[in-house]
């Protein structure tokens, strides 16, 4: 197969511009570093949490499954985001399907928590607002770090990578707040823990489409 007549000129231009570049660390290494940061986040949640009965809860299978599903889904979302930032390494449908199943499992587990009648709407919103602020606070730094990490690569599907980065940071934050928050009511957890994750991930997708698409200028 012949190359076009412009090949020689094009190659000469690219070679004139060739400078040493620092290769991206492998997705596995960057994931390990990011998970180390997230371990700190969870540690802070355990240390600063308002829950007095954490020891008892750590012996409850439902609680452990909820937190476990959030953490594993968060780690998977981060892996999908980091792999998606390297051309030719994007995760297949299986990884995305497992991620969605884990997220759904976490929501299903949360809905198994007892449903308590809301006595005061104001109290429901006020306590919920604290959880939303905590989730956003816990997610802010890990999201920024992950977003910068994937931006250093070259995501081919910027909105999807953005959604995955947001999902990863917010799921870990939701796990941290689940550990710290003393309220074990299904409605509270679904409204103030799960909803911010879904909305935040969607916003992260918008941010991804805006700031992760490096190919626009290519």
């Amino acid at each position: 197969m012949q190359t076009p007549p412009t090949h020689e000129r094009l190659v000469a231009q690219l070679i004139a511009d060739v400078q040493p570049v620092r290769p991206l660390w492998s997705p596995r290494t960057r994931l390990a570093l990011w998970l180390a940061l997230q371990t700190l986040t969870l540690g802070v949640a355990v240390e600063l949490g308002l829950r007095q009965d954490l020891g008892d809860h750590l012996r409850q299978p439902l609680f452990l499954l909820e937190v476990g599903a959030l953490v594993v889904a968060g780690a998977m979302a981060a892996a999908v985001a980091l792999r998606g930032a390297v051309p030719g390494m994007a995760s297949g449908r299986l990884a995305v399907t497992v991620l969605l199943l884990l997220g759904s499992a976490a929501v299903a587990l949360v809905s198994l928590e007892p449903v308590v009648t809301i006595r005061s709407s104001w109290g429901f919103v006020a306590r919920g607002a604290v959880c939303v602020i905590c989730i956003l606070g816990y997610a802010a730094i890990p999201w920024s770090v992950l977003f910068v990490a994937v931006r250093r690569g070259a995501p081919l599907d910027a909105p999807v990578v953005g959604v995955c980065a947001g999902t990863a940071a917010l799921l870990f934050a939701a796990a941290a707040v689940r550990i710290a928050c003393p309220i074990d009511e299904a409605l509270h957890l679904l409204t103030w823990h799960a909803m911010p994750v879904a909305l935040g991930a969607a916003l992260s997708g918008v941010a991804g489409a805006r700031w992760l698409d490096r190919w626009r200028e290519a």
């Binding site: 094009l10 060739v18 930032a85 051309p87 030719g88 390494m89 297949g92 070259a154």
Partner: protein, 164 residues
């Protein structure tokens, strides 16, 4: 590629010269217009140059390169679809389009456009580029068995779409 990342101009030239013909085949199999192929060739080389830090040695270069090329082609096809959706094509010369089996190529390109991306990719690699099932599977990162199934389904769908 690892040498090119370290700034070795000779290694970079050798790599670009080496991948040029293969990239050309990849683009020609996907883009019917030869003028567009030249533009996309240049666009792919620039994209490759800008993202050369993302190549991870010692992985094979091909999946990395063709993922970039496929992305460049997909962007081009999206742009073309948008443009065609807005334009009334009155300036096309029928003699030119019909030359050298142009009409058949156009029909085939339109039918390929309507296939799911994975099926389209399978049939393009196996039927149009003439790669072996194993080589095509390695390029898209799947097993030969899965690729054979995709190619078979794509072939059946194409026959339906082309009405034969």
């Amino acid at each position: 590629m690892a040498d090119a990342q370290r700034g070795n101009a000779e290694a970079y030239r050798a790599l670009l010269d080496d991948i040029g013909p293969e990239l050309m085949g990849f683009l020609r199999a996907r883009v019917p217009d030869s003028q567009d192929v030249g533009d996309l060739y240049q666009e792919t080389f620039l994209a490759l140059h800008r993202s050369r830090h993302t190549y991870e040695a010692p992985r094979p270069v091909e999946p990395w390169l063709f993922a970039i090329a496929a992305h460049v082609v997909a962007r081009h096809l999206r742009r073309r679809r948008t443009r065609i959706g807005r334009e009334v094509l009155v300036g096309v010369l029928p003699e030119e389009a019909m030359a050298e089996g142009g009409y058949a190529r156009l029909q085939l390109a339109q039918a390929l456009d309507r296939l799911p991306p994975t099926h389209r990719e399978a049939i393009e690699l196996v039927k149009l580029e003439g790669l072996s099932t194993e080589a095509a599977a390695a390029r898209v990162g799947t097993t030969p068995g899965a690729l054979r199934v995709r190619a078979h389904r794509a072939y059946s769908a194409l026959r339906r779409l082309l009405g034969s």
